[in-house]
Every structure is written in structure tokens, then in C-alpha cells.
Amino acid sequence: MTHAQVENTRVDWEGALVQRACAGDTRAFERLYREHSGRVYGLCLRMTRDAQLAEDCTQDTFINAWRALPKFETRSSLSTWLHRIAVNVSLAKRRKSTPVEPAAEDKEAGAPGEWTLETPVEVREIETAIGELPEGARDALVLHALYGYSHVEAAQMLGIAEGTCKAQLHRARKLLRERLGVEVN
């Protein structure tokens, strides 16, 4: 079976599960949860930096998804749709505990999705450095550089202007460079 065939089967499989979940089948929804919970939790954890809060966000993401499932169009990516919900939930939860951080726009053109390091760095070290970034810069970096969303998509998810998103990425790159001591390209 080719990769494309496998991907088609996966999409068909997911579409069938979505259909059943829309009909009230929680078992089908559990399958979707099992398939996507790791990436959703990973995103929530990186945005909140708090395991308990990330668990709450993950639960709320799937509850909100269950409620909104009839509106989901099976032609689009369920993963992206869940990530949008997860970002909204994480931002809302975070706003309750911390003030919104103002972000300055600049003319940074933005970088391609692939952020490479001049010298390899330990996973633990880079995760810590990402976790210590200011919220706005971290959000943009996580969505763009880790999860591969474009500037436009990341900005839409975060509810900010594209220019602001680029500025945050510029800031994230600068801070990572300082903290890791290696060039980030």
C-alpha cells in the first residue's frame, strides 16, 4: 500500500469515526481522542507550561470538539481543527491567570517552518529554553516551528495580526539564540 493510499484510508477511517461521533457514539469519539490526544496535550502543555492546566485544557478541547462536531467539515483536517480549539482553550485559561502580554510589531519577514540549530542541542535543554520564552513568543514558535503552521495560520489561531506573529517569532529566535548559545536559522 502506498503512502497516499494509507493516508486516504486514515482519512476515510477518521471520517467514519466523526460520522459516528456526530450520531452520539462516544466510543467512536474515544477513538478520535486516542488518536489525537498526544498532540493536543503536547500543544496545551507547551502553551501553558503547567501539566495540570494542560490536562484541563486537553479535556476542555475534546468537550468543545464534541459539542461542535456537527459543524466540522470532514474534508478539512481534524487535527488542525482540534489544534485551533486547543489554542483557544489554552489562551482563555491562561488569560485567567496572567495578563495579556502586549506584542510589538516589526518588519521581520518571518522564517520558513524549518528552524535549524547550528549545533545540535539536547531535547531537554531546548524544551526548557522554549518553556522560558515569553508567552507570545512561545505560542508563535510552538505553532510555527514545532507544529508546522504557516504565519497566517498561527496568527489566526492566536487571534493576532500576521505581522505580530512574525515579530514574536523574531523575538523567539533571538531569545533562543541567547539562551542556547547556538545560531538558530
Binding site: 496535550y41 468537550i63 540549530l117 524544551e127
Partner: protein
């Protein structure tokens, strides 16, 4: 792809794992909340199912569907699969509230799918389909449309699943979904049949 360990070195941010498993299984709590939502707003959740059960005239159908669901399950268990505790019976049960992962491959077997080819099932289905046309004719247009829409959605789901199974015949999840879809169809046909025979009309 295996996620890199903490001590492993990466040279790109894309090499970092996107998925991180939470320390505990979150599904039981999610499921409990979903059940609360469904219990609190049965009308709202009913609005999303293929056969809409809104309106006083259709309220009885929910009860009939429940009876039919059990009847179909028992009928299949008794007459088609040797031993009613077989995998099909397991497939009929609601999801267990446990912390264990629910591996797809352990849920369904080829026997689940094979039952739809059983001559007795086929005869029963054919008989229900034959009487369906006459029963539809006696229904109010609104109800008739709902039944037709429901059956069309089920038919489409069957086609999609069979197509997907054609690409991946060994996929136990698809097999299970197909069985569930056939059961949904049987449930709707039985509901309509019983409603008409009860003389209450729809």
C-alpha cells in the same frame, strides 16, 4: 518515528516530538462529562443523530428504538453468532469507563462482518425493506423524509466503509464500524416496522 529522548540531541525544532502523552488517562473524565452533557440535553444531542426524534409525534420512537436495539442484538447473538458473548455482543456494549487504552485491533473480528452475509439476516432485512415502501406511504411527509434521510445517511456510511475496507481489508476498526452501521440500519427498519404494526402511526 520514535520520539527523541530528553538527552538526545536535535538539530531542528521539527525533530521535537509534537505528541506528549499526559501522565494519566484523561478519557474517563471526558467521557463522564460527555455523558452528563447528553443526559442534560437529550433533545440537543438528538438533533445531531440521523433520525431526528424531535416532536411529540416521534417521542415514542426513542423507546421503540431502545427495544428494537436490544431485540436486534439478542436476535443476532442467538441466531447468527454461536455464543451470545461473542465479539459482536461486545461491540454492542457502551464504552467501558476504564483507564485502559482501547486498542482497535482487539475489538472486532472477521466474524463480526460475516454475519451480514448470513442468509437469515439477509431474509429478515429483505422482508423489512419490502414492507418499508408501504409503511413510508402511510407516514406524514415530514416523518417520511426523516426516515429516508436517515436510511440514505446509513447507506452512504456503508458505502464509504466498504470502500475503505477494500483498501484495508484487515482493519478491525472499519469492520466494527461497518457492523455498527448495519445494526443502525436494522434498528431503523425495525422501528418503522413496529411503529406501523402497532397501529399508532408515526
Amino acid at each position: 518515528m520514535t520520539a527523541p529522548q530528553d538527552s538526545e540531541r536535535v538539530s531542528s525544532l521539527r525533530e521535537l516530538p509534537q505528541a506528549i502523552e499526559p501522565a494519566r488517562d484523561l478519557w474517563p473524565q471526558i467521557e463522564a462529562r460527555l455523558n452528563s452533557i447528553q443526559a442534560a440535553a437529550p433533545a440537543a444531542s438528538g438533533a445531531t443523530i440521523p433520525l431526528r426524534r424531535s416532536g411529540a409525534r416521534l417521542r415514542w420512537l426513542a423507546a421503540a428504538a431502545m427495544v428494537a436495539s436490544v431485540a436486534v442484538g439478542v436476535w443476532i447473538g442467538r441466531s447468527l453468532l454461536p455464543g451470545s458473548s461473542g465479539p459482536l455482543s461486545a461491540a454492542r456494549q457502551p464504552p467501558a469507563i476504564t483507564g485502559a487504552a482501547n486498542p482497535v485491533s482487539s475489538q472486532a473480528t472477521a466474524a463480526d462482518v460475516a454475519y451480514v452475509n448470513d442468509p437469515r439476516y439477509q431474509r429478515q432485512r429483505a422482508a423489512l425493506l419490502r414492507s418499508l415502501q408501504a409503511q413510508l406511504a402511510t407516514m406524514p411527509p415530514e416523518t417520511r423524509d426523516k426516515v429516508k434521510t436517515s436510511l440514505a445517511a446509513i447507506e452512504k456510511a456503508k458505502e464509504d466503509l466498504e470502500q475503505a475496507l477494500g483498501k484495508d481489508p484487515g482493519n478491525a476498526l472499519l469492520q466494527e464500524l461497518l457492523v455498527n452501521t448495519y445494526q443502525d440500519e436494522m434498528r431503523v427498519l425495525t422501528d418503522v416496522h413496529e411503529a406501523s404494526n402497532s397501529g399508532r402511526g408515526i
